[in-house]
Symmetry: C2
Subunit: 299 residues, 2 copies
């Protein structure tokens, strides 16, 4: 892809809208579409081109970025009625940056390939702050040629982009990331609940162990949120539940028993049922606290 080509962006939520803005800041012409009119109007006012459907966006763009909620939305946008597949010209590239089930990405990629359309799955980590700052970590699956073609998009929206393998590999890598993060938060929660029940100050425990093998980016980011009782997202429990549901769907299809991830799924589902879905995932602490009837709070 030459610089300053037309880039379509389908899905203008908390991630897609700031990513579209960063593509505009980088000098690209951007064509936008969303089911909700507000973010579309906002971006068109600021100079974006209006797309009337995913097919229309694709017909007006050289490369189309998709940033939607989950697998069904990605499938509809790419393959459904008035989908990208109906508007894209031969040789066009679709970059799906949504976090969806990687086996679904593979199916979308195959159907698009049959229609002569190239495809990358490229989920991100870094959340809304990373999308706004243009510092997302981008995990990519597809060919090297497609990866190279999408490089200006990754440069405008991310701090790093790693080609992890064929189509689906970006999603599998994202799932690996989400397993590690959730396991880490839940382990930290149990550590702080046990020591709080024993009468220790969780801030002291954190300071004593953060420099050793137990130390992690999760511990540095989430332990203070836990003992300061700040559960404002950040990354919401309902989104982490979605990702772990995709982990377990994928594990089931591949025949991989994952006992810890299964337990994390149940913890996240229970928290969402309890009405805590919009809490930051540091709120996994509340599940452990509720069982133990103890509150982690710095003294």
């Amino acid at each position: 892809m030459a610089d300053k080509e037309r880039i379509g962006v389908i899905g203008l939520g908390i991630m897609g809208k700031p990513m579209a803005r960063n593509l505009m800041f980088a000098g690209h012409e951007v064509v936008v579409y969303d089911l909700f009119p507000e973010p579309v109007e906002e971006l068109v006012t600021d100079g974006a081109v209006l797309g009337s459907s995913p097919a229309d966006v694709a017909s007006k763009s050289d490369v189309t970025v998709v940033m939607v909620q989950n697998s069904p939305q990605s499938t509809t946008v790419s393959l459904g009625e008035n989908g990208i597949i109906e508007g894209a010209s031969n040789g066009q590239l679709v970059v799906d940056m949504s976090s969806i089930a990687p086996l679904v990405s593979q199916k979308i990629g195959e159907e698009l390939a049959d229609a002569g359309i190239d495809f990358l799955d490229a989920p991100v980590s870094g959340g809304e702050p990373g999308a706004i700052a243009g510092t997302l970590a981008i995990m990519v699956g597809g060919t090297q040629a497609a990866f190279d073609r999408a490089a200006p998009i990754f440069e405008a929206t991310g701090a790093s982009a790693v080609l992890c393998g064929e189509v689906g590999a970006g999603g599998f890598t994202k799932l690996a990331n989400q397993i590690c993060v959730a396991a880490n938060i839940n382990g930290l929660a149990e550590a702080l609940v046990l020591t709080s029940k024993a009468g220790l100050n969780p801030e002291t425990v954190f300071n004593a162990i953060k420099g050793g093998l137990a130390g992690s980016n999760v511990m540095n980011a989430k332990a203070p949120m836990m003992f300061e009782r700040n559960f404002q997202a950040g990354f919401r429990i309902e989104l982490h539940l979605k990702d772990i549901n995709n982990v377990m769907d994928t594990a089931q299809e591949l025949g991989v028993p994952l006992q810890m991830s299964a337990q994390l799924q149940q913890v996240l589902q229970a928290l969402d049922n309890e009405g805590n879905g919009s809490d930051d995932h540091a709120g996994i602490l509340k599940y452990v606290e509720a069982l133990a009837k103890v509150e982690v709070k710095k003294s």
Copy 2:
């Protein structure tokens, strides 16, 4: 404690022997005792004073360090027949650096206090390499005065020492550390098994996620061991099992349900039953692999 006082060291295993050596290097006179004659003879040849029992070591020392296997051994050494309590003079300090159940440390501390003997529980992390290099991370429970008195011991054997609270707080903090480490390793193992089953190169997955929120000291240390199939300890599964058993015993006594730690206990026990107890705890991978019938190996 003035520098260069006599320090007793009871327990000269893979941890205690190099710690005794580091105390000797630092210029302290060291009195040694172990049930096995070999390490005693070795250290006495190099200038240590021979102790004939824990009581004898205590009677010849100003401060006595204990570094034994688990709670029963610590109890016997401090409170049993010919134990420290029989030889220590009023006002002496016992520093138990073993990793034992913190509620047992509290009982030992209480009985010693009744006999006029001061006590710190001061478990360490860093393993044999840290004991040899004198770079252990030391988690301490007890009074500030006792902590200050033991400072020269901590300086000679550790890179850091943090006073975490009253007697037992060192052990509670160590348990928190071990929960976080085991949770992290098990999460990493599930992440690498799932992505390996999907055909990805685990080294690529590691490189893609290590810089983000999923990144941790465990990931940096253990992921390469996993995909290079190097399970040489390091920190042995049988020792991590001992620590998690102490977590669950403590949780039971305090009435704290810890579902993830309970699962980790079962994983570690199964691996030990399988004959993998002397593997490094990165070998938790083998449990997840065995269920999924897939091997994580870099390509």
